[in-house]
Symmetry: C2
Subunit: 377 residues, 2 copies
């Protein structure tokens, strides 16, 4: 199974409507391929919150409207912030039936009042246990960060170093929400507290955007990237039900399954896109993925090992923090970056000699975990 083409829009506060964003990303993926839309046998649409945000559901039919006369199977997948990864996971299973499938992730979030946006996003948490108690996602991840600090001595500056690195990478990514935005430690340290210990620069932004992939049962060109693992696991939705907040069990199970499918170890991964919805999430991802031992992610960050020139570069596109977090598109955007890197097409932010890349896409606080591993083909 191969990723044969990739496409995306810029992420950020954009003028385009949701269907316009979806169309642009699909066109961009087609232009990256030697295929016409008539070669696409089915489409999976990843979207999290166009219901509450736009009162627009039935996106599979909306996509059909953009592709006159095509009349193929199109299905929407939603698993909160992991929708993009889940759509790819599903598409790969469906390659048994269809030869060529498009995966499109899209989200339009910026045209909603920010207070309402935070409430809408909290729909990824349990209504009764979380939402009714005021436990929005910045609040959940603040609890998680507090636990990690308490258990492992992780500091505020460790979180800030994640933010700084991701902004440095995003600064080099022309599609990024924060392209050409210079950020330094002082700005991060002085940014307002959102939910202690998380400050503004620890949080990913509200973004619009879309990204698309074309997956193929057979290899089509030497730019194709092979998918060597695909795993999805679900866990409890609410932090109230978890024993431990410093690690996500679903991620660990999915990761083990993925390494087993790919017949590799964590040490074989050259680059990774991880779900840094908050800076603390990137640290926990590094530990859950086995890049380092529990509690050691802070050392890796302090030593710069996850930077572009480090031994395990993470979020080379800027991650959700700086590339942006148009929720349904984010998981697809991660794959866009890994494929770009493995194709050696990442320009200024190219990591040398990358053979194997991984994407880590989660929903809520790891209630859904999706891991994919890719190899240059």
């Amino acid at each position: 199974m191969y990723i044969t083409a990739i496409g995306r829009t810029k992420f950020g506060i954009l003028n385009e409507t949701l269907p316009e964003l979806a169309y642009k990303a699909m066109l961009s993926a087609l232009e990256d391929s030697n295929l016409s839309i008539r070669d696409i046998d089915a489409i999976y649409v990843a979207n999290f919150c166009s219901g509450p945000f736009q009162n627009q559901l039935h996106l599979n039919s909306l996509i059909s409207s953009l592709l006159p006369g095509l009349m193929i199977p199109i299905i929407r997948i939603e698993t909160a912030c992991a929708s993009g990864g889940s759509a790819l996971y599903q598409a790969l299973i469906s390659l048994t039936k269809f030869k060529t499938i498009m995966v499109i992730g899209v989200e339009k979030m910026s045209n909603v009042d920010p207070t309402k946006a935070t409430m809408n996003i909290s729909a990824a948490g349990d209504k009764m246990l979380d939402q009714n108690e005021g436990l929005t996602f910045p609040a959940s991840y603040a609890l998680i960060a507090q636990q990690h600090m308490l258990k492992y001595g992780t500091t505020l500056d460790d979180l800030s170093l994640v933010s700084l690195k991701n902004h440095e990478n995003g600064n080099l990514n022309e599609f990024a929400h924060f392209y050409h935005k210079k950020v330094d430690m002082e700005m991060i340290r002085n940014s307002p507290v959102i939910c202690s210990p998380l400050r503004l620069f620890d949080c990913s932004p509200i973004s619009d955007g879309a990204a698309a992939l074309i997956v193929s049962r057979e290899r089509r060109s030497d730019r194709d990237v092979k998918i060597i693992a695909s795993a999805l696991v679900t866990d409890y939705i609410s932090p109230a039900q978890r024993r431990d907040l410093t690690s996500f069990k679903a991620v660990k199970i999915a990761t083990n399954e993925a390494y087993s499918q790919a017949k590799i170890n964590a040490q074989d991964i050259n680059i990774a896109e991880v779900h840094d919805c908050f800076t603390i999430t990137e640290l926990i991802a590094m530990e859950d993925l086995g890049f380092c031992k529990p509690g050691e992610s802070k050392n890796y960050v302090r030593e710069g090992r996850t930077k572009l020139d480090g031994d395990i570069p993470i979020n080379t596109d800027g991650g959700l923090k700086a590339d942006g977090h148009p929720i349904g598109a984010s998981g697809v955007g991660q794959v866009y970056e890994v494929v770009t890197q493995l194709r050696n097409e990442a320009g200024e932010r190219q990591v040398k000699n990358s053979e194997i890349g991984l994407t880590h896409n989660i929903g809520g606080i790891g209630g859904t975990a999706v891991i994919h591993i890719f190899r240059r083909s």
Copy 2:
């Protein structure tokens, strides 16, 4: 591929919350099988509007919370009112990877202000072309009914006969929203106009409810029902984009594909569950499915051919009109009824000698069409 177990809750205005409904339906399906929850390899959750209605998304993780320690792949599917059929369609494709899959459809709608509910449901229509013009679904289907009347001479009483028949069937279905509700032609004729020509009794109700299926790669018992066709097609979302409103092209394409997969003709179908969100939709379904020629559905209804003792009984459980329309669950509920009939377990409403049954589940005004065909195994 087989439906090895079925379960459901009552449909109607219920006290249960969304997770309670989902749990009850899943338990009911497990009780119908000789399986434990540990035998389930993956779950697909069908839901349309828990985002706008309940501010509850990420239902795949919510379901995981109901099944402690299971930690399997769970994915939510949304294709408007066809979500249930689409989840089954997807599950059948995924049987290549998983041996046993549960499909659960769930919707909680009654705890929302009815005015807001109609607006929320209009999310299945195009935001710009339909919603902004005030084209809610009763309005869209009123236009469709007007066209059908103009073209074919269908009358108000023809619509009412569909409603009457479905209420007669629902009256015999203990799970139905309108179980034990006696309805006659006078009540239907005198019911208030919702959107001319559609009156209250032409419209399906706002219901809560859940239904579940267990699908299996292999036959497990002599109560299993074989799935002999599964087809899904998408079309334009808005009536503004359609050439003809008296027939749904996606339904016709999916139906042809399904008959071809099953190697049968329309005449071979013994019973059918069709998507009667409005009475006119049942008439159009009969024509699109090839049960009769375009414009002839009115004759079938006048002659009582779709009643329990007719030659092609339709909506033996009362259909969306009388069984109820908890949107994400409706497509799954249709399969529950066909399986019940093919197993000869439908009690008072049992249709004799049923070998082959069909389900017709659509989203919006046929922007999504899902057809399944089942055979006694």
